[in-house]
């Protein structure tokens, strides 16, 4: 559930000469996190808003789980798609609890179930129900508002989440924490997430695949690693900063560079990482601790060794070449 397909989707606003979105085709798989990345004004928001029919395409079709969304009742469609925007868009006259209860109420859930759901959602986004249930949005920090925004979007148990630069107005540290939260929720709930961003670091952190847009068109739709190592054109190369080695290391897992542990190795007190961590973290750990190598361990068992020399070799070898 939560399979989304764009087929030749275009939208031209009546007042504009150029289409805001032009012949977009692509498939987003169930449970995938796709980040729509591109410079401001390239049509990211417009594309997103066509999924919950806040905008209607001038041509082309969108299918949700194989069903043309035009065939669905629009309120019904929207109730099964969570939507999170930059300023959270919380209802200022409703408490946090009432905000979260909106979609369950629209879906006609029984009252006790809604009340339980409110607490469940607050726990999920790590806000204590006792403390936050009865607050109004104006009594929350930006980061807390955004957490409530996410809780509200998830309350009706949607198959899909649309997020339009949700952390755009949030300070760096809180932003990273919220990105981690999204990754955690994603592992836990397996929703399909379509996430708009103009921040490359954010896209690389979150995305299974990145849909790169420019002037309404899709330039490339690939995994972060492919985008960095095989950019389709000069635009993708510069946008992604593919010449940035450190950035590349950020999308490569430690397992790509580790070597077997030599038999006579005694492990010593080397710093430790897991095979799923990325090479950027590994590099940072080596530089910070001054250790010559890292032990890679899985579930408490050492499984490999990672040296600075191996990281360097891999980075040079993978070098994102301009097309």
């Amino acid at each position: 559930m939560g399979d989304l397909q764009f087929e030749e989707v275009s939208l031209r606003f009546p007042s504009e000469s150029r289409p805001a979105v032009h012949h977009v085709t692509g498939q987003i798989h169930s449970g995938e996190v796709v980040v729509i990345l591109g410079p401001s004004g390239c049509g990211k928001t417009t594309l997103l808003k066509m999924v919950n029919r806040l905008y209607e395409p001038t041509s082309g079709q969108i299918f949700l789980d194989g069903v043309n969304i035009q065939k669905l009742k629009v309120t019904r469609l929207r109730q099964q798609i969570g939507y999170v925007i930059q300023q959270a868009g919380l209802f200022p006259h409703m408490t946090v609890a009432a905000n979260i209860a909106v979609v369950p109420r629209l879906l006609g859930w029984p009252k006790p179930q809604i009340q339980a759901r409110i607490d469940e959602m607050l726990d999920l986004v790590r806000l204590s129900p006792g403390e936050f249930r009865h607050r109004y949005p104006a009594q929350l920090s930006g980061g807390q508002q955004q957490r409530v925004g996410i809780a509200r979007a998830l309350a009706g148990n949607p198959t899909m989440l649309l997020m339009d630069e949700p952390f755009g107005a949030i300070d760096g540290i809180t932003r990273t924490a919220l990105q981690d939260e999204i990754l955690r929720l994603q592992r836990q709930l397996k929703k399909t997430i379509l996430f708009v961003s103009h921040d490359v670091e954010e896209a690389l952190r979150l995305a299974d695949r990145i849909l790169v847009m420019r002037q309404g068109e899709v330039v490339q739709f690939d995994s972060p690693l492919t985008l960095l190592t095989q950019p389709a054109d000069e635009f993708v190369y510069t946008l992604l900063g593919a010449d940035d080695m450190v950035r590349q290391l950020g999308v490569l897992p430690v397992s790509a560079a580790m070597t077997a542990i030599p038999p006579e190795d005694h492990n010593g007190a080397r710093p430790t990482l897991s095979p799923q961590d990325n090479l950027r973290e590994a590099l940072s750990l080596i530089l910070r601790t001054g250790a010559p190598a890292l032990t890679i361990s899985q579930a408490g068992q050492p499984v490999g060794l990672l040296t600075l020399e191996r990281i360097r070799k891999l980075a040079v070898g993978k070098g994102g070449t301009p097309p």
Binding site: N52, L54, V74, T75, R76, L77, R78, Q79, I81, Y83, I85, Q86, Q87, G89, L90, F91, P92, H93, M94, T95, A97, A98, V102, V103, L106, R133, H134, R135, Y136, A138, Q139, R152, L162
Partner: protein
């Protein structure tokens, strides 16, 4: 004051007339103002002609306006009530359209995106958000209407103004004082009542930044 105490029956009758006129005028004014303000919010080009002409109307002194209305509606309460409706109209439409225009487009987009239909967006979001501004308008319009109704006594409309004008004509200071006190007390009471209603509106109210005490949820 002594007049008020010695003639409670007269006073109640006049108060009843005063409240009746004010209530009727406000009911009609609200009934007209809501669709008018919604129209202005939907079609922004109507803003200048509608709010403009209402603004001009507001600059005409109430006494002059009632004199204009007498040839049409006669020397009676109708002329006074029509004048009250017109004045209240200016205040209500202005407040309501300012309130509607001040709705955060992100909040309205969120309401739509969550799958609320037109009716739910109106009752769950627009009405509660605009209500405090609207009630402030109703409060102001009520005060103005009470004042106009007082002058209305000159036009055979009755009401508490009758005490004032009768007193002036017969040099009865006790009547003048009684009338003035009664009108002022009525205006203050209505102001307090409507202010209280405004504060009943949900939301953190004026203490926006302060973390207020938790409120029970139904």
């Amino acid at each position: 004051m002594s007049y008020l105490l010695s003639h409670p029956g007269d006073l109640l009758a006049l108060l009843g007339q005063h409240l009746g006129m004010t209530g009727l005028a406000l009911a009609i004014a609200i009934f007209l103002a809501v669709p008018l303000a919604l129209l202005v919010a939907r079609l922004p080009w109507l803003n200048i002609p509608i709010l403009g002409s209402l603004g001009v109307l507001y600059t005409i002194p109430s006494l002059a306006l009632m004199i204009f209305l007498v040839p049409i509606f006669g020397l009676n309460a109708t002329s006074v009530i029509v004048a009250m409706v017109l004045y209240a109209q200016v205040i209500l439409v202005r407040h309501l359209s300012v309130g509607l225009a001040g709705l955060d487009p992100d909040v309205m987009a969120a309401a739509r995106a969550m799958g609320m239909n037109l009716w739910q967006r109106w009752w769950w979001v627009q009405v509660p958000l605009v209500l405090p501004v609207f009630l402030a308008g109703v409060r102001l319009a009520t005060i103005v209407a009470i004042a106009i109704a007082t002058i209305g006594a000159k036009f055979n409309a009755g009401g508490l103004g009758k005490l004032l004008f009768d007193g002036l004509q017969t040099n009865r200071y006790d009547k003048i004082v009684a009338g003035a006190i009664a009108v002022a007390a009525l205006a203050l009471a209505m102001n307090g009542l409507l202010l209280w209603l405004e504060q009943l509106c949900p939301g953190p109210g004026r203490r926006k930044s302060a973390p207020g005490p938790p409120e029970p949820l139904g």
